[in-house]
Amino acid sequence: MKHLRSIPELGADGLTRLLELTNHMVEVNRRPVPKVPALRGRTVVSLFFEDSTRTRLSFETAAKRLSADTMTFSVSTSSVNKGESLRDTVETITDMGVDAFVVRHKSAGIPWQISDWTTAAVVNAGDGWHQHPTQALVDCFTVREARGCERFDGLTLTIVGDIKHSRVARSNIAAFSMLGAQIVLVAPPTLLPPDVAHWPVTVSHSLDDVVGRTDILYMLRLQSERMSQGHVPNLREYSERFGLDARRLAMLPSDAVVMHPGPMNRGVEMLIDPSALPNSLIHRQVANGVSVRMAVLFDLLAGESSAGNLREVAP
């Protein structure tokens, strides 16, 4: 693997390999000193054109636990608006001798553009509405851990909310279907992309209709700007139809789990205190984030000596 840019590009074999590798990283993180020298001398740059403290910290923690050096290059979107060349930025940092870029940008496709301009590996940490592959890896790993299974045949993943603008949804639809899950999308038509007929999903516009038949209830964040753009008339109406409240929680099968990629909008899509959720995996998602990103960076950067390095991280 040269880059991690999207789940379809990673493919089912790559997905399985990274999930297996994550098991090793979970073990490393359980040690009294959760740090190994696997990527000593390697440099990982966070290139964030869009603010995301939690994803950036998760990647940087992962890099540090593998003993890589880290740099952060925060670029305000405004400087790009002024016409600053993205290519110049990437080439300059590449010249400093870096091994990987971890990239987040509000425009889809940036990781592909950047990988044309650098010899370093590119990890997509979110490109516009398109992909967020490490989030999908986190979510698959978390479900595997919770259900104790390797594949998701027979399980139903129900994704609720703003599918149209969600890179998390696009990544998870690809990843969970590769592992055999049935996928149901629940949203008003205004929050669905224009043509989902070719996706391996079924669509519902009523959460009440499907909540009783789900194994994994995945709530997406609704950004308040969707109101001003006319996608939903107001938050109250959205919450009533698509929020998770006590009534809908009671309709969930008893062994179903609840997930959310964060940050949560309390009172919008999440109408109950998440700490009161009996089957919430939300904390496990955050915790597994570091292990998954360690696996990704290790897979990309350990290179020729990866077998030897894997012994360093193995129990």
Binding site: V80, L86, A108, I110, Q113, G128, R170, P194, D195, H198
Partner: protein, 436 residues
């Protein structure tokens, strides 16, 4: 650079004869020699005397006319100048280019229009035909001084890049324009439906997470302007149509006898929306690349005569602008040097029809039919192209005459290549090489 006008007069005063070619014009195809002297065609026939220029096996046609070229001067000379754009045009077989008005300052005053025409004369490689803005500053709020511009020679008005959104203002422009006997050319895009759009709204944009540009945003304005043309009687030209339904609307309007014309670009005839899967900004263009179904309908529209003209929408951009993210990179691609090769590569079109859509019809729409797109007969101005319709070739970006390199046709096999271009009796291109 100072040009020696005497030398020029000397060169085009000298008689020469195109030998071995086949003439293709509105009267069809015929084998004949063409003698040119003093900037005009002086004789058409057999065994003519004069310096022989080889046109063996090639087509001799009236020079191509592009209804839609962004020459970027004044304002964005980093991307193109009138001289480099004219040279690119000459290499593509063009003898006239309609210069789009989205310059800085825009072509909404006589001063700017005169400047553009004069820069074209100075370059001397093609006739640069300035279009005028419909509204001041292309802002869609108040009419530009259309009568003044028309008096200064402007025959075609457009806010290209911006469709005129306000229905009443567009109606007024049509009414006013009808009184001036000019053509209004519309960029059809209902802007509220395309805010932030990067590519066609389709299956592909759904998966790529790129904001979609729905076909209906074009079709609504095509429909609106057809109906406004119906009540105002104005001549309306539709720029770069890109959807199947737009072609249907124009076909129906023509059946009703309305004075509507339409153009299509080489890229909308040849490239589909899936190109964006590479996330390469060279494929970002407005209107966007559409579906294979739309491409098929556009080709059919050309072949059945619904579409009058092939127009390039030649839109040069410097490298650094196209190296922005997809949402910020400007739309547009080069077209002048590849139009013929793309058209012959993708259209099953006979040569007289090709000459109609690349020369005769656009010359008429631009109001320059006295000088361009004319039948090749004694007395016609010597604005001609000689091209080999069967030569296949591949685009080498570094050999382009344009100042920019944003061509989407790299690696594609094109069919048909320009051998000579003659403008005002002078060779601007000889044996495929630009002469100046």
């Amino acid at each position: 650079m100072k040009r020696d006008n005497n030398a020029k007069r000397g060169s085009n005063a000298k008689r020469f004869v195109l030998k071995g070619g086949t003439i293709v014009d509105s009267r069809g195809e015929r084998r004949a020699e063409v003698a040119i002297e003093g900037g005009v065609v002086v004789e058409v026939g057999e065994a003519l005397s004069g310096d022989a220029i080889d046109a063996g096996g090639a087509v001799i046609a009236p020079g191509f006319v592009d209804l839609h070229a962004h020459l970027r001067e004044p304002g964005k000379e980093e991307a193109e100048t009138i001289e480099t754009g004219s040279r690119a045009g000459a290499k593509g077989g063009y003898t006239a280019l309609v210069a789009m008005p989205n310059t800085d300052p825009p072509q909404d005053s006589v001063a700017v229009v005169d400047f553009v025409r004069e820069q074209g004369r100075r370059a001397g490689l093609v006739e640069v035909v300035p279009s005028g803005c419909i509204t001041l500053g292309r802002q869609g709020e108040a009419l530009a001084p259309m009568a003044e511009l028309a008096a200064a020679g402007v025959r075609i008005f457009t806010d290209d890049g911006n469709g005129v959104q306000d229905e009443l203002l567009m109606r007024r422009a049509m009414e006013y324009g009808r009184g001036l006997d000019v053509t209004l050319a519309q960029h059809c895009e209902v802007a509220t439906l395309t805010k932030g759009a990067v590519m066609n709204e389709c299956q592909c944009c759904t998966t790529l997470g790129l904001p979609g540009w729905p076909a209906v945003a074009e079709e609504l304005m095509v429909f609106r302007d057809i109906e406004l043309a119906r009540i105002t009687g104005a001549r309306v030209h539709f720029l770069h149509l890109s959807t199947a339904r737009s072609v249907d609307l124009v076909r129906a309007a023509k059946r009703d006898g309305l004075p509507i014309t339409a153009e299509v670009t080489p890229h909308h005839l040849s490239l589909d929306e899936t190109r964006l899967m590479s996330f390469d900004t060279v494929y970002k263009v407005n209107p966007p690349l559409r579906s294979p179904r739309d491409i098929a309908a556009l080709r059919k529209g050309v072949l059945d005569g619904t579409i009058d003209a092939l127009a390039t929408d030649h839109a040069p951009h410097p490298r650094r602008d196209k190296e922005l993210s997809l949402d910020q990179a400007p739309p547009g691609m080069l077209g002048l040097e590849t139009a013929l090769g793309v058209a012959l590569g993708v259209l099953e079109i006979d040569l007289p029809h090709l000459v109609r859509i690349m020369s005769i019809n656009p010359a008429r729409i631009a109001g320059i039919e006295a000088r361009h797109g004319r039948d090749i007969e004694p007395g016609a101005p010597a604005n001609l192209v000689v091209f080999d319709p069967n030569i296949t070739w591949q685009v080498a970006p570094d050999e382009l005459a344009s100042k920019s390199r944003n061509t989407p046709f790299v690696g594609m096999t094109l069919r048909g290549r320009v051998r000579h271009t003659i403008f005002g009796g002078d060779f601007t291109v000889l044996d495929g090489e630009a002469q100046r």
